[in-house]
Structures are given as structure tokens and as C-alpha cells.
């Protein structure tokens, strides 16, 4: 399945003019608030009528303004997971879950309800009402409700934004399972780089209603110009494999032949993971570093240097493990004589590889 989106719309100060094609898997719309993410999702869902454009799933048009075609929301066969859950308060969890199954066409591919309930861990909640659920439980029910409607596409509009960090950590794995165990494609809106790193198969980075960059997560996040949440959120994503758990509480990872260490993670040996390394946790050295407490050193060569408006610069370093971004001062760039092609060492503090930035295995790759 592939989703094709072309949109033009004026919304207050924002002029939306963009097009992209989403491959199967999780496509993340990534950008700061006001960049047009929710407008895109609402147009796909039919909750907002754009001035011009066309959206189709596998050649099946949801709307096409040139043809005057407009399917109402209830005929689009989508599963929309809203930021605030939007569960029906007067219905039980079970009735909420099965609401959409009444309308799914007979021939539609269906998820097995028992499997979905088990996957989301909501078996004990079925007879409760939404008012008695925690924020995380509500969101899990909302995921199940969207999934059981037999949608051809799942839309998720910042589904974790209303939750605290602990609840976010509780829900993220369910989206990973959705990506890896369910074949329905997902269009996922967020402004969190950590969520992109964990979930995205491909990323559409948005800025002021335009597509800034579009491609696989590792490429888009390694592009320093994509920083919707400011320079502090810049970070690269590496593909790693768990090698072993050491007795001193560290887990050894293999990143393209280079060992990386981080505080023990619950994942099993040989499991494939993605880790996100925030640029501000990376130090650069022009010589092999000695006498440092940091355990993780990646050898590579400078790829690009991008100076910001302030004293800082983002340097991307190509290493055998993948591209790593470092946030350093412009003064350091000069002092080290950094320029594209120059060999250098990226030093990563072990603690910087925080478990919440560690994602499950990558589906479809």
C-alpha cells in the first residue's frame, strides 16, 4: 500500500503547499507546531476540506478537488487515533473497541479482536468505562478501537503528547508492535525526535506548510537542517545489535563493527535496535582520545558543517556505525581545523544513550 498526498490550503497565517508519497510502514509527519501536520492528517481523514489537492490510498481516491470528488469521513475507512483519545464516555471499553466493526465492509481484512486486546494488554478493562481509566490505558483502548475498524490506513495525531514521560514509555512499545505485527500503514504526527527515532520507517519533515525533507528516518534525522524542536533536539539514529550484557551493569552493542556501551537495557542478545544519539551529547576530537572517562568513541570523517545563528555549529561525522551529529562551538570547529573529509573522532558519553531513546527492532528493513 502507498499513500499519496497533494495539498494546498490556506489556514490563518499558514500557507500549506506540499506533496509526498508514503511507503508502507510508519510515515512520521515531523515538525514544530504550526507547520501544518494536523491540517494534513485532518484533510486525509476528511475532517477538513482543503482548497485544492488529492489524496489516494493505492490509487483509491479519498478526494480529488480537480474531479470534484469528496468522500465523507465515514466512507474513508481510516482509523484515527486522536491526541486526547476521544473515547465515547457513555460506552464501556468493549463497546468502544467494537464501535467501528459495525461499519467495516464484510470482505475487509480484519484483525483478530482477541489478538489486538492481548497485544494492547487491555483484557482486564473491557467492562470498565473510560472515566475510570488512566491516560495510558485510554490511549491503548483508542489504538485498539482504530485498529478493529479494519482501516486501510491508521492516522495518529500526536497520540502521546498529552501523556507524561512514564505513560509515553508505556505506550510507545504498542506503536512499535503495531508497526511490526500489523500490516496497516500508519501516518503518525509528532514533534518529538525520540518518537521519530523509534517509530519511523520514513519521515516527512515539515516547515511552514512545506516539505523540508522526506526519506528514511536515519537520513532525515542525520540532516542538521531538520531541527523542528530546536538545536537541542538534533540527534542521529544508529542501527545496532545487542552483543552481550556485562556484569558491571552495561550492555554492549555492535554498531557497524564498533562496540558501544550503555546502561543495561531489557532487550535480548542479538536483537536489532535503533538508538538515538543527541548531538549535544557528542564531543569531537581530531586525535584518538586518551585518558577520557567516556567509553564510546567512533572513528570517522567530517561530512558537513552547518553553522547556526549563535556560536554553535552542527557537525555531521560519517562513521562505520552510521552518521553521527555533534553540536560544538564554531570556535572549536576552527581550533580543530574541521572541514569536510577531515578524519576525526566522535566521543559519546555512555549515559547519553538513555533507555528512552532506545527503540525496538526496525520493521520492514
Amino acid at each position: 500500500m502507498s499513500l499519496s498526498v497533494r495539498l494546498q490550503h490556506d489556514l490563518n497565517d499558514l500557507r500549506l503547499d506540499l506533496s509526498f508519497d508514503a511507503p508502507p510502514g510508519v510515515t512520521v509527519l515531523f515538525g514544530r507546531s504550526g507547520s501544518g501536520k494536523t491540517t494534513i492528517v485532518n484533510a486525509v481523514a476528511g475532517l477538513l476540506k482543503p482548497m485544492a489537492g488529492r489524496v489516494s490510498i493505492d490509487g483509491w481516491d479519498l478526494f480529488d478537488t480537480a474531479q470534484g470528488l469528496w468522500l465523507p469521513p465515514h466512507k474513508r475507512r481510516l482509523g484515527y487515533i486522536f491526541q486526547e483519545g476521544r473515547l465515547f464516555p457513555h460506552l464501556t471499553v468493549r463497546q468502544n473497541l467494537f464501535y467501528g466493526t459495525w461499519f467495516a465492509p464484510k470482505g475487509a481484512r480484519r484483525e483478530d479482536p482477541d489478538k489486538v486486546i492481548e497485544m494492547l494488554g487491555i483484557g482486564q478493562l473491557l467492562n470498565r468505562r473510560p472515566a475510570g481509566l488512566s491516560g495510558g490505558e485510554k490511549q491503548r483502548v483508542a489504538i485498539g478501537r482504530a485498529l478493529l475498524a479494519s482501516p486501510r490506513l491508521i492516522l495518529a495525531d500526536e497520540p502521546l503528547a498529552a501523556l507524561d514521560d512514564a505513560r509515553k514509555a508505556e505506550i510507545l512499545p504498542y506503536f512499535e508492535r503495531l508497526r511490526d505485527e500489523v500490516s496497516v500503514p500508519i501516518l503518525y504526527v509528532t514533534h518529538s525526535a525520540a518518537e521519530v527515532a523509534r517509530l519511523a520507517t520514513s519521515v516527512v519533515a515539515l516547515q511552514d506548510g512545506q516539505v523540508l525533507r522526506h526519506g528514511p528516518a536515519s537520513e532525515v534525522l542525520a540532516d542538521p537542517s531538520v531541527a523542528p524542536a530546536g538545536v537541542r533536539a538534533v540527534g542521529a539514529v544508529l542501527q545496532v545489535r545487542v552483543v552481550r550484557h556485562h556484569l558491571d551493569g552495561l550492555t554492549e552493542l555492535d554498531a557497524g563493527g564498533t562496540p558501544l556501551y550503555l546502561p543495561r537495557i531489557p532487550h535480548q542478545v542479538a536483537e536489532e535496535l535503533r538508538i538515538r544519539i543527541p548531538a549535544q551529547e557528542v564531543i569531537l576530537s581530531s586525535k584518538p582520545p586518551e585518558g577520557l572517562s567516556a567509553l564510546n568513541v567512533l572513528q570517522g570523517a567530517v561530512d558537513t558543517i552547518r553553522a547556526g545563528e549563535g556560536p554553535g555549529a552542527i557537525v555531521s561525522v560519517k562513521t562505520p556505525a552510521g552518521t553521527v551529529l555533534a553540536r560544538v562551538t564554531r570556535r572549536s570547529v576552527e581550533a580543530l581545523g574541521l572541514q569536510p573529509g577531515k578524519p576525526c573522532y566522535a566521543v559519546i558519553k555512555t549515559v547519553a544513550l538513555a533507555p528512552q531513546d532506545v527503540g525496538g527492532h526496525l520493521g520492514g528493513h
Binding site: 481523514a45 476528511g46 475532517l47 465523507p72 469521513p73 465515514h74 466512507k75 474513508r76 475507512r77 481510516l78 482509523g79 484515527y80 486522536f82 486526547e84 476521544r86 465515547f88 464516555p89 457513555h90 460506552l91 464501535y99 467501528g100 459495525w102 461499519f103 467495516a104 468505562r129 473510560p130 472515566a131 475510570g132 478501537r145 482504530a146 475498524a149 492516522l155
Partner: protein, 230 residues
């Protein structure tokens, strides 16, 4: 009810029948109009709003006279209905029509408030799950506004029980046919020695009005608790 005279009992029964039918028949229309006023933007919305509220602010005698002009034997709608064998003038059905129209604004106001309290985002969620507008209304909106609908219906019933001015103008005060509770009180007060009968009917009126209010509070709270999911 041995302590009530036959005429008084008849007025009470008639009033209950008139109010029951007035409420039941106007309820679907009241929900539709309340929904339209709360959710839809269409030309003439303010005019519709004004028309609905007119009986609340016009002198009841004026409303009754307008009903007589429209639905009387010589009135345009009265003539039309007569072709189908329906006569409302000077019948209990006419009293129900007058009571229904006078109670309509109260009913619509209560239901409209409860519809405005329902988050349209929940209705959107229903649509994205595949439910048509009508189905969303039946499964999401209606269950959630049920407290308001019940409150509106009870309020309309109580108002219909007390309707006097429009009723007496439109269908007169015929014992057994159009003599409702308030009309009977008025009639008893016109004859010497009727005070005792009038007082008994006044007590009944107070009991019914208070009962309706308490019932609407009780049912409303029960249903609200259920709908809120606690």
C-alpha cells in the same frame, strides 16, 4: 380519589392526557430543532430561533388567537386537516396542540443546552470509525444528551399541565372536552361556592408541578452519572 368530584376528576384526567400527548408528539421535533440550532449554520437560523421562542414572549391570548385563525374551522390549516377528518378546534386535540406549542420553547432550550455540551470531537471520532451522521447521532449524541432530553420533556409536561391562556382562547372551556386543570380552577372560581373544588385542584397542581421538578432532577442526575461513565 373519592375526595374529588366528577368534574374535578375529569379535568385532571384530561389535563394528564393533553400534556402527555403534547409532550410526546413535540419531543422528536424538539430534538431536531434543538440539534439544528446547536450544530448547523444555515440561512434563517435566527428566524427559526425567534419563531421557537415566540410563544414564550407573546401574550398567551395572542398565541391562542393565532392558533384559532390558523387551525379553526375556517382557518387554512384547519380546513386542510378537516379534509382528512381531523378537527382540532374545540377538541382535546386542540388543547394538546396549544399546550405543545406553548411548552416547545422550554423543551428546545433544555435539549439545545445539552447538545451544546457534547464535544463535537466525539462525533468526529464516530465518523472516522465509519458511522454515518444519523448513526453517530443515535449512538453518540443522543445517549449523551439523554439527561437534557428527559429534563426538557418533564419541563414541557409541567408547562403543558399549567397552560391556560392559549388553550382557553383556542379551544374554549368545555367540560369533558377542553376543560383542563387550570381552566377548571378558573371555572370553579366563577361560580359561588366553587372555592373548595378550586382549592383541591390548586393543591393537585402544586403536587404535580413539584413532582415533575423533583423527578426531572432525579432522573437527570441518574442518567448524567451513567452517561459520564462513573
Amino acid at each position: 380519589m373519592g375526595w374529588l368530584g366528577p368534574a374535578e376528576l375529569e379535568a385532571l384526567k384530561l389535563s394528564l392526557r393533553v400534556s402527555f400527548w403534547a409532550t410526546l408528539v413535540t419531543l422528536p421535533l424538539g430534538i431536531l430543532v434543538a440539534y439544528a440550532l446547536a450544530r448547523w449554520r444555515f440561512p434563517g437560523r435566527q428566524v427559526l430561533n425567534g419563531l421557537v421562542h415566540l410563544p414564550l414572549i407573546l401574550p398567551p391570548v395572542v398565541t391562542g388567537y393565532l392558533l384559532l385563525l390558523t387551525f379553526g374551522i375556517q382557518g387554512p390549516l384547519g380546513k386542510l386537516l378537516a379534509e382528512f377528518g381531523i378537527v382540532v378546534a374545540f377538541r382535546w386535540t386542540g388543547a394538546a396542540l396549544a399546550a405543545g406549542i406553548m411548552a416547545f420553547p422550554l423543551m428546545v432550550r433544555a435539549i439545545r443546552l445539552s447538545i451544546e455540551a457534547v464535544d463535537p470531537k466525539l462525533e468526529q471520532a464516530g465518523a472516522t470509525l465509519g458511522a454515518s451522521r444519523l448513526f453517530v447521532f443515535a449512538t453518540v449524541t443522543l445517549p449523551m444528551i439523554l439527561p437534557g432530553v428527559i429534563a426538557g420533556a418533564i419541563l414541557a409536561f409541567a408547562k403543558a399541565m399549567g397552560e391556560f391562556g392559549a388553550t382557553i382562547t383556542f379551544v374554549s372551556n368545555i367540560p369533558g372536552q377542553t376543560q383542563t386543570l387550570p381552566s377548571a380552577v378558573y371555572a370553579f372560581l366563577q361560580v359561588p361556592g366553587g372555592e373548595a373544588a378550586a382549592t383541591r385542584l390548586v393543591v393537585i397542581s402544586i403536587v404535580i408541578a413539584m413532582g415533575a421538578l423533583l423527578l426531572s432532577e432525579f432522573v437527570g442526575r441518574r442518567v448524567a452519572a451513567r452517561v459520564a461513565g462513573s
